[in-house]
Each structure stands twice: as structure tokens, then as C-alpha cells.
């Protein structure tokens, strides 16, 4: 088993490295001058040139990439002389627009996105798997019908529709959840304010994912119930409850874990629409703003980060699958 993990970790690291090269390369060959984007309207060629040197855009591409890569481990110094400043390790670059080291920006945005992803996950997995199980057990009867209506709605409504619906009706018109003007408040400081901030975005995302998971769980459970080993379990004298919750769910667990892991990874990469609608100070919103403002350093950093999260999650899910499905381990 450890060999299995080591192999996967090795390849994951290699993939992340490759992704970073490709992303960096792609953004570096874009047909506009990164230095020219660093200053606003009051730009002069002189300032542009100065910025070019300061940010290292005058160096050859591979050197730039090397500085970027080493910056992650050693920190990076920009400029020279009196105008010198350092982004300490790990440095993902410098945002001229925000006048901040990208790392600091990430440090602010990441917790918001992670809370969003995890909270939504808890809701969608409970609802999705629970409803899917009920639908499978009471197939053809009203729990099944209710769940298929839910699935239809959930998968058809895009997040901007549900999100805007919540924002406009629940917050503004009906004032059930107050508009949170303070921004992100950690749960440790004020649970109430924390919930106010996240509850609607959680529900927006959860409805969509729960619908998919309900359908998926229902289908997988029904398929498993037809398997010979479930018949054996019944023949042993096990109660239907044990057959369903122990034997069946155990088999359903593996594919659900794989999906869940990848879905969470995707969310961390940036639930851009939801974050924008509810004005959450997370990675998604940070990315989209950086795109509008042509803030390349930020975009490069968030892309690589999102890719790394997905790759790492893939690794974790692979390892988990190895635990959940013993047949896979033996290879």
C-alpha cells in the first residue's frame, strides 16, 4: 500500500510541475506586454520600462519561470536599490493593481473559498446521499417521485438563477437573511455572522450538487441491490437495514468518494459565479477581478493553485479508493 501511495505522489508532483510550466508559458506568450499593463492611465514609457525591469519581464522566459518557481520556496525580490521589496516565501508573484504580494492575497481569499466549499459539501452530501438512498429504497413510491422532481429542478437551474433568486428574494425583498456587509467573519468569532455570510451561497451550490448526487446515489444503490452478494447477505439472515446501510452503502462509497473529492477540488478552484453574486471575498472572485484588470501575476497564481488542488485531490481520492476497493490495491 505505501508503494502505491508513493508512486501516485511522485506522479502527482510531476504533473503539478508540468502544469506550472504550461500555465506560465501560456500566459507569457499572450500578445500583449505585461509591463504595459502594470500602470493605469498615467503611464509613460519610462514608467513602463522601469516596471518591466522591476518585475523581471526583461529577462528571458526560462529565467522568469525559474525566478517564479524558486520564489515559491525562497521568496522573491523585485526591483533594485531603494525601490527594492521582497515577497517572502512562498511567493507567487506580485500584484501591481493591489500593490500586494499575491501570497498575501491568497491568504485572505483562501479561507473564504474553503469554508464555502466544505460547508456546501456537508449539506449536499447529506441531502444528496440521504435522498438518493430513500429514493432507491422506496422506488416507485412517493419519496422516489419527490426526489426526481428535486433532481430535475436542481440539475436544470444554473447557479446564477438560484443564487440571484436567493439574493433578490430571500435577502433583499423578504429580508429573511440579512445582507452581510462586514465580509468574512470566522466561525470562531461570531457563529451567527458566519452563518449569515455563508448560508445562501451554501444553499445555492448545494442544490445543484445535491441533485446530481441524489441521482447518482439512487442509481448506484439500485444497481448494487441487484448484485449476487446482496442476495447472499439476505440469505445469511441479515435485516434489510443492515443489508442496505452496511453492505450496499459500502459498495456505493467508493464511487461517491471519487466524485466528491473531485467536486470539492473544483469548487476550491473557484466557485466564480456564486462568489460574485454574493460578493464573497474568495478565490473565485479574486480571479475574475484579476482577469478584468489584466492582473497577470494573480491569474497565473490562481490558475496554478487551482490545478494543484485538483491534482492533489485526485491523488487523495486515488489513495482513498485504494482503501475502499481492495481489488484495486493489488495492482
Amino acid at each position: 500500500m505505501p508503494r502505491f501511495i508513493l508512486r501516485r505522489a511522485y506522479f502527482a508532483t510531476l504533473t503539478i510541475l508540468l502544469v506550472s510550466i504550461v500555465v506560465y508559458g501560456v500566459f507569457s506568450i499572450l500578445p500583449f506586454d505585461p509591463a504595459a499593463l502594470t500602470c493605469g492611465q498615467k503611464c509613460t514609457p519610462a514608467i513602463v520600462e522601469a516596471n518591466r525591469v522591476k518585475l523581471g519581464f526583461d529577462k528571458p522566459l526560462w529565467h522568469q519561470y525559474w525566478l517564479f518557481l524558486s520564489g515559491i520556496f525562497l521568496g522573491r525580490t523585485y526591483g533594485a536599490g531603494s525601490a527594492e521589496f521582497t515577497c517572502p516565501a512562498p511567493s507567487f508573484g506580485y500584484s501591481f493593481n493591489e500593490n500586494m504580494c499575491v501570497t498575501d492575497m491568497l491568504a485572505e481569499a483562501l479561507p473564504v473559498t474553503i469554508n464555502l466549499a466544505i460547508g456546501a459539501f456537508v449539506i449536499w452530501i447529506t441531502v444528496g446521499v440521504g435522498l438518493g438512498l430513500l429514493a432507491a429504497k422506496f422506488r416507485g413510491r412517493y419519496p422516489d417521485t419527490i426526489s426526481s422532481v428535486f433532481v430535475l429542478l436542481g440539475t436544470s437551474l444554473p447557479t446564477f438563477v438560484t443564487g440571484l433568486f436567493f439574493l433578490i428574494y430571500v435577502t433583499i425583498k423578504w429580508k429573511i437573511v440579512p445582507l452581510s456587509l462586514e465580509g468574512f467573519v470566522p466561525i470562531t468569532e461570531s457563529p451567527v455572522k458566519y452563518l449569515q455570510y455563508f448560508i445562501l451561497p451554501w444553499l445555492t451550490l448545494a442544490i445543484l450538487y445535491a441533485a446530481f448526487y441524489t441521482r447518482f446515489t439512487r442509481a448506484t444503490v439500485l444497481e448494487t441491490l441487484g448484485e449476487d452478494y446482496i442476495r447472499t447477505a439476505r440469505a445469511k439472515g441479515l435485516s434489510e437495514k443492515v443489508v442496505l446501510l452496511k453492505h450496499t452503502m459500502r459498495a456505493v462509497l467508493a464511487p461517491i468518494t471519487t466524485s466528491a473529492g473531485l467536486d470539492i477540488a473544483g469548487l476550491i478552484g473557484g466557485a466564480i459565479i456564486t462568489e460574485s453574486i454574493f460578493n464573497l471575498a474568495g478565490l473565485g472572485r479574486m480571479t475574475i477581478q484579476a482577469v478584468y484588470e489584466f492582473d497577470l501575476s494573480v491569474v497565473v497564481a490562481t490558475t496554478i493553485l487551482a490545478a494543484s488542488v485538483v491534482i492533489t485531490m485526485n491523488l487523495i481520492v486515488d489513495i482513498a479508493y485504494g482503501y475502499l476497493d481492495p481489488r484495486v490495491r493489488m495492482k
Partner: protein, 345 residues
């Protein structure tokens, strides 16, 4: 009751889109301690549906079951047909166990063998974990699996087909059941492995004095292990008797037809096989009269018109050996015995 299992006039009907399927149409048989009773039939004969009824695995909301299935548990006995589900569950795996055809798909792929075996014990003896684990190792040994402590920690896919069937047998016997139902236990196995498994079942039966209800389509397997046989066709038993009765004195045209059509090692291979013409009937639209009539070559020997219009009763001149046929038994006796001799040389 001295029998471990007594099935009386079992009828099982399923509704389908095309109509009601009369899968089992009045089956009666019994299994005594230490005896192996075989139900022989082809697909659609109702043999598997019968076996599943004994362990109560049909969905009662959908399936109509009438008749009685008495299973004996020491001093008490239970009628599976009318008993509540929780009582049936208390019998499953403890008084009557079942093993199935495909051992690969019948074992849970994600749980270790040892824990699957222990679970079979724990269901009926809750909380006795240590005993369960100990018994699991004992049973693995009993069925001939080397190094049980090591193998108990392994998963089904790490075992070969024959080994997996041994594990299934071990699991079925964890609670020393009175009756073991074996549904085509060796059909999916190689012939040399089949020989091993059948030998194992015989040995275990001797040791534990249990009754075995063996479901199969293979006449050779029946000849090897069975004491008494019920031959099923289109949901009914067409002949029932001791093993020698069935193989040497068949009284049902279907039985005779089967015995004549099976290729045998040592028989003259230059002759064509005497195949039974036609096909088994649909179980939704059973013909009036005898279900085998469309394929039977002895209709002319029966009273005119009886085979097509009247269903024959299961009768026998001498006690245990019964058969269903309108042709008078004395006529069949001489004729069939001669035909069977011809088939065996």
C-alpha cells in the same frame, strides 16, 4: 416431524407485463437428515424459484406464494410461506442456508473473507465476536482451505473459483444448519474442481448429518451425489423417487427423454443422440393438459385425448416412486425399462 424440510403443494406466481408467470405449480417434496435430495430441471422448470422460496427470498409484495414449507429447528418448526419476515430471517443462515452458482459475484468484494464468515455467525449470536472469529477459522479448515489464519484476512478476488465456493460453503455452515440448499453449486466450475467440491459436500454431510437440497440441470452430478430426485418440468414435478428409480426405472416421458438425449462417455458415438424435439413451454400460457404433451412421443399409448386436455396427477404404484403421465403405469414400466437399457449400452 422427522424431516428437516417438508414442502407441500407449493405454488409461486409472478405478475409480469405479459401476464402471470406460474413458475411453480404444486410442488411437494421432503428432505430427511443425512440425505441429499436433488431437483433436476432445465431453465424455466421452476427449480430455482422453488429453492428461493424455501429460504423466503421472494418479494412478498409482488409474488404470490401458496402452500406450505416446513423447516425444522430442533423442537419447533416454521412455515416459511406464512411466517413473518423477521422469523424467517432468524432461520436464514442458521437453520437453512443457501449457496449459489457463481461464487465470485456471491461474495462481497470489499470485505475480508474472515469478517464475512464471522458476520454469518454474529447475525444469530450477537456480540460473540471472539467465538465468531474462532469458528470462522475452524470452518475454513473444515472446507480444506490451507493456512486459514492468513487467508481469512484476504479478499474474495484473491481466491480461485474453487476456493471461493469452499468459502461460500464454510459461510453457509457457520451456524450448523439443518438444511443446505445448493443452487447449481458447481456449474460455474471446471470439471476437476467440481469433483473436489462435490466430494467436499458429501464429506461434510456425513460429518454434520445435514440435509442437502441440490438444484441442478446436470444428470451426472445428480447421479454422483443424490439419494432421491425430483424431476421438474414447466413448474411441476413430473417424477419423484430414489436415485435408482429415476435413472434405471424412469416412468415419466420427460425423464426418459433426458436420459436418452444426454451424451455418455463409453456409449457408441456413431449413433445420433435421441434428442427431445421442440422446446419447453411458456410459463405464462401453459398448454391445457400435460405440459409435456407437445413434445411427447408416447401420446398414442394414453387414453385418446387425455394428454391434451387433462393434467395428469403425480401417482405411483409403489409408495415413494411417483410420476405424472396418462399412459398406464404398467405399459410405461416395460417400455421405458427397455428404452433405458438401450440408451446405456
Amino acid at each position: 416431524m422427522k424431516n428437516l424440510l417438508e414442502i407441500k403443494d407449493l405454488k409461486v406466481t409472478f405478475p409480469t407485463d405479459d401476464g402471470f408467470v406460474h413458475a411453480v405449480d404444486g410442488v411437494s417434496l421432503s428432505v430427511a437428515p443425512g440425505e441429499t435430495v436433488a431437483i433436476v430441471g432445465e431453465s424455466g422448470s421452476g427449480k430455482t424459484v422453488t429453492s428461493l422460496s424455501v429460504i423466503g427470498l421472494h418479494n412478498r409484495k409482488v409474488t404470490q406464494i401458496t402452500g406450505s414449507i416446513l423447516v425444522k429447528d430442533k423442537d419447533e418448526s416454521l412455515d416459511i410461506v406464512s411466517a413473518p419476515l423477521d422469523k424467517i430471517r432468524s432461520y436464514r443462515g442458521r437453520v437453512v442456508s443457501m449457496i449459489f452458482q457463481d461464487p465470485m459475484s456471491s461474495l462481497h468484494p470489499y470485505y475480508k473473507i474472515g469478517s464475512q464468515l464471522a458476520e454469518a455467525y454474529l447475525v444469530h449470536h450477537p456480540g460473540k465476536k471472539e467465538e465468531a472469529n474462532k469458528k470462522a477459522l475452524e470452518m475454513l479448515s473444515l472446507v480444506g482451505i490451507p493456512e486459514p489464519q492468513v487467508r481469512a484476512k484476504e479478499y474474495p478476488h484473491q481466491f480461485s473459483g474453487g476456493m471461493r465456493q469452499r468459502v461460500m460453503i464454510a459461510m453457509a455452515l457457520m451456524n450448523d444448519p439443518a438444511v443446505l440448499i445448493a443452487d447449481e453449486p458447481t456449474t460455474a466450475l471446471d470439471v476437476t474442481v467440481q469433483a473436489q467440491i462435490l466430494q467436499l459436500l458429501k464429506d461434510l454431510q456425513k460429518k454434520l448429518n445435514m440435509g442437502i437440497l441440490l438444484i441442478t440441470h446436470d444428470l451426472g452430478v445428480v447421479a454422483q451425489v443424490a439419494d432421491r430426485v425430483s424431476v421438474m418440468y414447466a413448474g411441476r414435478i413430473v417424477e419423484q423417487g430414489s436415485i435408482d428409480d429415476i435413472f434405471y426405472l424412469p416412468h415419466a416421458p420427460y425423464t426418459l427423454g433426458l436420459l436418452k438425449s444426454v451424451p455418455r462417455i463409453g456409449a457408441k458415438s456413431s449413433e445420433r443422440l435421441k434428442a427431445i424435439p421442440g422446446q419447453p413451454p411458456s410459463l405464462i400460457n401453459l398448454p391445457t393438459g400435460c405440459a409435456f404433451a407437445p413434445r411427447c412421443e408416447y401420446i398414442s399409448l394414453a387414453p385418446a385425448g387425455s394428454c391434451e386436455s387433462l393434467k395428469p396427477e403425480l401417482l405411483g404404484i409403489n409408495g415413494e416412486h411417483k410420476s405424472r403421465c396418462h399412459v398406464p403405469e404398467e405399459k410405461r414400466d416395460k417400455l421405458f425399462a427397455a428404452e433405458i437399457k438401450g440408451a446405456r449400452t
